[in-house]
Symmetry: C2
Subunit: 459 residues, 2 copies
């Protein structure tokens, strides 16, 4: 059963750049059926992301497993006049029969490291490029941004409020899943709650307040409807006045044996206002009432508030997390690294790719903290006995090769990896560069191939 | 029939922030069934977008028409323990029965102007908030960014290459639709081509080139497969050397009575390389071979290339357009402006909303060029006899009230509006601010309501 916002198998086959199909037709003309390995990785760039979180693999595996081109899709392709009938006939019978090795979701990875490698007859491996990048890029982008927000909040809770300004349906669903993966406590997205078994939470909107004749009346009505879970939004007219009205309602709730859960600040100077509101609440003996904050938050603003010790118990983080405001994409690429047993690369200015099937080895110190990674060839020996190989085989001959972890398991896996990464690699503005090097065998092969390609192609 | 990546009606009802549902339950408790009007608009901000393009209405109307809460959704809501059975029963019978007035897709609009107003019983109007913002925000963001790219290219063509790094399925589809709406010539997205009847185009990838023993061989093979539409990607090893090989293949194609369509540059200094490659082609009497460019392009880079008169015939614009790299969201909000006949507003710091049902009037000069807009009350008279009212009624009593324009008609509508807007309002970095003012009646009402709310709520 498809997840909401996902493509059916029939649609997925056409969710591709046209050139994947024209190249496929040409491969067929040339009778090129040898196995090809493509490697997915993020190019080093000036984007401020010292670590990356792997996410999106589950979707990619489901799409690959179900890959097929429907007769309706064939009819459309025929109508473009670009394709010949031999190719369309071939396409109509195509399935994905390849293998997938990948870094599991929730694990940390770094620039230039292959997060996923697909080996399949070249037509199959080529045709799935666009969908593979589309799904893993988005989810890595959001999981990574959300991890930064989670980290900046320290021991205070963070909640996903991003749905309304994420980029459409799929992005809204994936923002909830990706942020929960990296430690968010809950989401406001009800459909994501249902689909992914994520806790859902929420407060109230300004429209609720303004629909009543007075703010106080609106607070009372909400408290009556939700005597145990009311969080009052107090900035509709003026935050401080709103806090005083919240006190009135909280005391009324006490007289009925209930407790106001919290208040939410959504505008203005959140540091000064949270202090002022905390004082008002405490003076009214409402120490138990939580203060939540929202409104344009990201990891930088959260860090500022936390390091000033703002009395804020939880942050609702929306748009800037959900679209990864300061870096809405990664320079993620899917490059041919081997064809018919021959390792290959490209030399384009600033975009040289690493040849051949690879593995990523993670080095740990004696306390199992991350020391650095080695990008090696797939058949390299472990660089150290305690090193870990990150890429695991998830698919063979087009079928899932292992049980996929649940989102809750992925969430635990992330916490494990993330807590093993030193804070100096996590700093928001000037993180230390995490050490990643090439294995000797990969470095030698790469040098030789670069020289060879230069001599043969450029001269 | 649902579009690819869209939600089914059953799913759409839960694609919402939880608080819409808790507020709805409280409205029901309070027996609040009066009509409410919500207004969708973009708050003034420092985002560099001097004009905005309306997009996304079609999806919203389809979702509203089909709105219903399935028993499966009710079961999930029940399981959260948040809702009572009276509300869930009410929800199970709910449909959208309201009206929608909106600025048609493809038209220009500006900050603070209502792009859409929904009037419906408050529970209905409240519940659809998240979905309405999600769809219109994304599509406005991308259409606006794409319009800037289209404008910067002048008379050269622009093509959507964004699919792989857009934010998931829905965003990928909408990037193709939104960019075609504002003048892009075609898209690489095959599924969007099929779904929206947009021309699809493409070239070849580096993987194609590296899968062959030599670059020259790969060029020959592609030309053999596509004797009339071949565009060779020439930067896999070295752009200048690649251009020389393209010349060889172009001459071979001529000897078979065919013509090489073009070459594509994808890395390096596009200005210098395009000049060098043009010279190589021209010296080989291949004046007809087009030069296309891609790779990290946006409106700023395109403007730089065009103003330096780079010999580039077309631009493939990808990621930065598809995610609106420099401004991946608009500060779009959906605010209650009237309830039970009473106009309302909020006063939150920096986020004051304009009360009551509104209309946007567009003033034209004698040559039908845009002079400025007036935001007025819905029942304001035209400020000038030649002024145009932008908000049109699209839905009444939950049913479509008019035929929706085709994407091709919307595209023409955009061209009409856009060409009537002076270039000084379109400049990429320092556009003149387009004049937007409030009508006298709206201004007076707003002032009175602000004073009233301050007195009543803040004191």
């Amino acid at each position: 059963m498809n997840k909401p916002g996902a493509l059916s198998a029939e649609e997925a086959a056409l969710f591709t750049d046209l050139y994947e199909l024209t190249m496929a037709q040409s491969y067929l003309h040339e009778q090129m059926f040898a196995p090809a390995t493509f490697s997915l990785f993020v190019r080093q760039s000036r984007i401020n992301r010292p670590y990356l979180v792997a996410a999106g693999l589950e979707d990619v595996l489901h799409y690959l497993e179900a890959f097929s081109v429907s007769s309706e899709a064939i009819d459309y392709l025929h109508s473009t006049g670009i394709f010949d009938s031999a190719f369309l006939d071939y396409l109509g019978h195509l399935q994905f029969t390849g293998s997938v090795r990948a870094i599991p979701e929730g694990r940390l990875y770094f620039y230039e490291e292959p997060i996923l490698e697909i080996t399949a007859p070249i037509i199959e491996a080529q045709l799935v490029e666009t969908l593979v990048i589309n799904q893993i890029n988005l989810q890595s982008v959001v999981a990574t941004k959300a991890a930064r927000c989670f980290w900046s909040a320290g021991d205070r809770s963070v909640v996903d409020f991003s749905l309304r300004r994420t980029h459409g349906v799929d992005a809204g669903m994936k923002a909830a899943r990706s942020s929960y993966m990296v430690g968010f406590q809950s989401t406001s997205n009800v459909l994501a709650g249902k689909t992914y078994d994520i806790p859902v939470t929420g407060t109230m909107a300004h429209s609720y307040v303004t629909s009543f004749e007075s703010e106080l009346e609106s607070f009372r009505a909400f408290a009556k409807s939700f005597p145990e879970t009311t969080v009052l939004l107090i900035d509709t007219y003026d935050t401080v006045t709103g806090a005083r009205k919240a006190v009135v309602v909280a005391h009324e709730m006490e007289s009925h044996g209930n407790r106001l859960l919290g208040v939410r600040l959504d505008s203005g100077d959140l540091l000064a206002l949270s202090r002022h509101v905390r004082r008002i609440l405490d003076e009214a003996r409402l120490e138990y009432v939580l203060i939540l904050a929202s409104g344009g938050l990201d990891e930088f603003e959260v860090e500022r508030l936390v390091s000033a010790d703002a009395p804020i118990d939880g942050f609702g983080i929306g748009t800037r997390m959900g679209v990864s405001g300061d870096a809405p994409w990664l320079d993620m690429a899917y490059k041919l690294v081997k064809y018919g047993g021959r390792p290959v690369l490209k030399l384009s200015t600033g975009k040289i790719s690493l040849a051949d099937e690879k593995q990523v080895f993670r080095l740990m110190d004696s306390e199992r903290r991350l020391r650095g990674d080695v990008i090696g060839l797939a058949d390299d020996p472990l660089p150290e006995p305690e090193a870990e190989s990150l890429l695991e085989t998830f698919m063979q001959e087009g079928k899932l090769a292992k049980r996929l972890p649940s989102l809750h398991e992925i969430r635990e896996r992330f916490q494990q990896d993330f807590s093993a990464l030193d804070d100096r690699f996590k700093s928001l503005k000037k993180a230390r560069k995490y050490p990643v090097r090439l294995s000797n065998r990969l470095r030698k092969l790469q040098k030789a191939l670069e020289r060879e390609a230069e001599a043969a192609e450029i001269g």
